[in-house]
Symmetry: C2
Subunit: 140 residues, 2 copies
Amino acid sequence: MAHTEAMTQIFHATGRRLTSQRRLLLEVLTERDDHLDAEAIYALAKKRDPNISLATVYRTLKVLKEVGVVQERILDREGQRHHYELTTEAHYHFTCLKCGRVIEFESALIEQASDELAKRLQLDVVHARVHLDGYCPDCR
Amino acid sequence: MAHTEAMTQIFHATGRRLTSQRRLLLEVLTERDDHLDAEAIYALAKKRDPNISLATVYRTLKVLKEVGVVQERILDREGQRHHYELTTEAHYHFTCLKCGRVIEFESALIEQASDELAKRLQLDVVHARVHLDGYCPDCR
DNA sequence: GTCACTGCAAACGCTTTGCAATCGT
DNA sequence: ACGATTGCAAAGCGTTTGCAGTGAC
């Protein structure tokens, strides 16, 4: 995603405007698809547009979430801060309790589990957040 | 758990003190094992001890987390607030995106997935947070 | 008697919001 | 030109902390 074309359409269709700030933030997110937090995104964006504000970062992330382009996660050990990443294939995260490192992974079994539960409990499951905590190979 | 006996020992062994406030908070958590947030726990505790402070609730929850008696979760749609529940058998949560209802469930498949990943990625998995979002039977 | 713990109020960190100016359409 | 979006600064909200007093051991 994040092609300017596709974006233009999505934005236009929903009565939103594609400003230079939004374009820039999409660029940043595309280049470093790295579950960044708002502060980090702000820092990267500021390098190219020193006038951009943190408020705009938050407001844009909100819009991008609404439009489905980014997803919000909570990855830090304290659960105090939100992280954002472009919506891609389903994947999950592991956080090392010692060094704080975040490892991404995919898992067919998790999708199976989700399907099984949807059936069993009659839920319409839109999204599965799976997050493992523990010790990474270096810290265990 | 949360038997006063066992608690007394855990607290004593770690050089902590079992105060009336801590006993009260344990009671509240035991009676309503309902993934409450700090404010709700505070409200319930205040009914029996009007002098208890919110700071003590937070500090006690921190201690109980360290000791392993409670676990912290993030269950609200905004991810802004922490919820606490006594540590029992592994179970997970589903949040309805429309009505906000939280449904608990267990799943052997999720435990399998966690084991598989631990092996595959050489992780020491201490804890799996699994959280589904979607629409409950009433809202779908 | 010690020192962990408490209540209070102030501070914290991340996120949101009101407002006047700006810029996409 | 209209109104969605911006930057700024101030406010919001859940959580944490400094401090003097208290109570568990």
